[in-house]
Symmetry: C2
DNA sequence: TTGAAAGCGCTAACAC
DNA sequence: GTGTTAGCGCTTTCAA
C-alpha cells in the first residue's frame, strides 16, 4: 500500500532527525534546515522535496538542538502574581494568544505569595530558558529589578512602569480620579478609598500607588480634606475577601462614608457583599465604584472604570515580539484608554441624617 | 577587593559554561555534571569545590544542552480550553504550583476557540518540547486523542476520562444528581437543566455529558418526566453571557420552571442576572443551583455543589510527576469529593398558581 | 571516584 | 543554491 514512514534501516530513535529528512530528500542537513525555515536561498524544487520528505517522516524540529545551535529558545516567559485573578488571567490570555500565533511558546510563572516571589527571583528559573520576559503588574523591589535585568534579555512590563523598559498600561492616576469625579458629580462629599492589600513592604500591584494618588488628587482638587489616616483604608487580604473584611471593619467603625472608591473591582465586589449582608442599601446609603470592569461587575451592577485587559496583554506581547526582531525599537510607554461604566451601584447621597 | 567572577581569559560567552566551572574547580566537565545533579559517586570534597565554583561563576545550566544530551526537557505542557475562566485558572494554579516546586517548567496552551483548538492538535506545538502533558476538561475527538497519544509521553487528564489514561476528576454524574435532590427535597417538581454551550460537535467541557446524565437520572429516579426536549436547555455562548441569554429565552417562553440546575456556576450567575433584571424573585418564584462554587457564588448567594479545583490540579500534577519517575504507576482514576453548599438562591417553590 | 570521548540534533560560516 | 565543517553545552558510557 504505502511506504513505511519510518525507513527500516534508520537509527530508529523516537523521532526522525534532520539527517533522516536530508537523506530522504537527497540533500544535506543544512539545506533541510534552510528549507524548513523559509530561507530565501533555496530553490523551489529543492524546498518542495524537503518539505515532502519532512512530512513523510513526520519530522518535528528539536527545539533543544535548534536552540542550542542558534542561541534562541523560541519561548517567552510570562510572570504574574496570581493566575487565578480575573485581571491576570485575561492579561495572560491576551498576551499568549499573540505569542502563540507568532510561533512562540509561553512559559508561565505565577508567584502566588511573597515567599514564592522571593524564591522565584532568587532562583530565576527563566535564565537561559526564554528569549524575553513579560511581567504583569509586578511591583518590583530594587533587588528583583536587578535580577530581572541580569537576565540581559528584552523585558516588557504590563501595568508597571520601570526605568528604560517598555510598558503597556492604563493611566492609573486618572482612572482613580475619574472614579472620584463621578462621585463628586453626584454630590458625594464623604468618600473613602478602599485600597488593596499591602503585605508589609508590598506584594500589592504596581498600580496601587498611582490609584491612591489619583484618588487624593481628585479629592484635593475638589477641596475635600485628604491626607488624613481615614481617607484610605487598606484591605488585609486579596480580592473579594479582602474587600469584604475591609468593609466589615468600616461598618463596625464610628463613621460610614457616603461613597467608596475601590482600587479594583474584586475589592468593590467584596464590599458589596458585606453591605448587602449588613442590609445597607446601595446606592441608597452608600455608593460604590470599582476599577477594571471585571466580568462579574455587570452581575452585581457595579459602576466601574473599564480597562481593556486582554488588549493590554496583546499589546505588550506584540511590543516584545518587535523587540525580538531586527532593528528593535526603543523603549516606549503605551497608555491604553479607559472609560467609566455607570451601573447601579452609584447614585446621589441621601441628604440629611 | 573580590575576584572577578568572570575569569578574564574565559571565552566570555554570555554565560559561564560547564567547562568554565570544571576549570575553576580543577575537575572535568563530567564531574561537574555529576556533582551538580547530586549523583552519589562524587566525593564530598570534590562536590564542594564544584558547587563553589558554580556559584562564583553564577553558573546556570543550559536546559537546551542538558535536554539535548539527556532526552528530557524538564518541562510539562498544560492545555486548557480557556485560561480566563475561573475553573481553568484555578486548575492551572494548582497544577503549576506543584510542578514548579518539583523543579519543572510549565508550558501553557489555552485553546480559546474551536478553530484554535483544531490548529493546536494539527500543529501539536508540544511535540519534543515537554516531558508530559496535562489536559484540563478537554473533550477530545478521536483525532485529537490520537494526536495526543502520538506524542508518546505521559498524559494525565483532569476532568475528562479517557481510556487507559490517569484522570483526576469529580463524579459529575452524582454532582448533578445531588443538585437535583436538593431541589426535590425542597419540593420542586418542575426543574430544568441549563446546560453549557455545545458549538456543533462540541467544544463544551468533558463534564457536560455526565452532568446531563446525572440530572436526568435523578429526575427519573424521582419519577419526574424527563427525556423531553424541554428538560434541558442549552446555552448559546460560554459563561455568564451564555447563562443570561438562555435564561432570557426561558423567560420569553411559555413556561417558567420553579427551579434551574446550571451545568456550572457561571451559567447560573448569568441566569441570576437575567432574573434580577426581569424582576423575578429568587428563590421566591424560581430557585437556582450551580456547580463549582465559583469565587463569586458567595457574592450572589448561589447555592452550588463545590468541587476542589486547585486540589484537582495539584493532584493531577503530582500523578504526572509520579509517572515521570522510575517505576511509573499504572493509570488510575482519582475521584475527589464534592459537597453541596446551600445559600440563598434556593428555597421551597411557591404553592399555588 | 574521576576523566576522556562520543554523541544529542541542529545552525551558521564558509566554500564551491 | 548547496554542501562541508565546526561547534552550541551538556550527559553518558567506558576506562582507568
Amino acid at each position: 500500500m504505502s511506504t513505511n514512514p519510518v525507513p527500516p534501516g534508520s537509527r530508529r530513535s523516537r523521532h526522525a532527525s534532520i539527517v533522516d529528512v536530508a537523506a530522504l530528500a537527497g540533500v544535506s542537513a543544512a539545506t533541510v534546515s534552510r528549507s524548513l525555515r523559509g530561507h530565501s536561498n533555496v530553490s523551489p524544487a529543492t524546498r518542495q522535496r524537503v518539505v515532502e520528505a519532512a512530512r513523510e517522516l513526520a519530522y518535528v524540529i528539536s527545539p533543544q538542538a535548534s536552540g542550542l545551535a542558534s542561541g534562541r529558545t523560541g519561548t517567552i516567559g510570562i510572570v504574574v502574581p496570581f493566575i487565578t485573578r480575573w485581571f491576570f488571567a485575561n492579561a495572560v490570555a491576551g498576551a499568549s494568544t499573540v505569542l502563540h500565533e507568532a510561533g512562540y511558546d509561553v512559559l508561565l510563572h505565577h508567584l502566588g505569595s511573597a515567599s514564592a516571589r522571593d524564591s522565584f527571583f532568587e532562583r530565576m528559573p527563566l535564565a537561559r530558558r526564554v528569549d524575553a520576559v513579560l511581567t504583569v503588574s509586578l511591583p518590583l523591589s530594587e533587588e528583583h529589578t536587578l535580577a530581572l535585568r541580569a537576565l540581559d534579555m528584552p523585558l516588557v512590563t504590563m501595568g508597571a512602569r520601570m526605568d528604560g523598559l517598555t510598558c503597556v498600561r492604563i493611566d492609573d492616576v486618572s482612572v482613580a480620579s475619574s472614579a472620584v469625579y463621578h462621585l463628586l458629580h453626584q454630590g458625594h462629599e464623604d468618600i473613602v478609598m478602599l485600597a488593596g492589600f499591602d503585605e508589609d513592604k508590598g506584594f500589592g500591584f504596581a498600580s496601587s500607588e498611582d490609584r491612591r494618588t489619583g484618588f487624593r488628587q481628585a479629592m484635593a482638587a475638589a477641596g475635600m480634606r485628604t491626607g488624613t489616616d481615614q481617607d484610605v483604608i487598606v484591605a488585609r487580604a486579596y480580592g473579594i475577601e479582602g474587600g469584604a473584611q475591609a468593609m466589615d471593619e468600616l461598618l463596625a467603625g464610628p463613621r460610614l462614608p457616603t461613597a467608596i472608591v475601590a482600587e479594583y473591582d474584586e475589592l468593590a465586589i467584596g464590599a458589596l457583599r458585606s453591605l448587602r449582608r449588613a442590609g445597607i442599601p446601595v446606592p441608597g446609603r452608600i455608593s460604590v465604584v470599582g476599577i477594571d470592569d471585571h466580568e462579574m461587575s455587570s452581575v452585581v451592577e457595579l459602576t466601574t472604570v473599564r480597562q481593556p485587559v486582554q488588549e493590554e496583554g496583546a499589546t505588550a506581547a506584540q511590543l516584545l515580539l518587535d523587540t525580538l526582531g531586527e532593528r528593535p525599537p526603543g523603549p516606549t510607554d503605551v497608555v491604553l484608554p479607559t472609560r467609566l461604566v455607570v451601573r447601579g451601584s452609584t447614585g446621589s447621597p441621601r441628604t440629611g441624617p
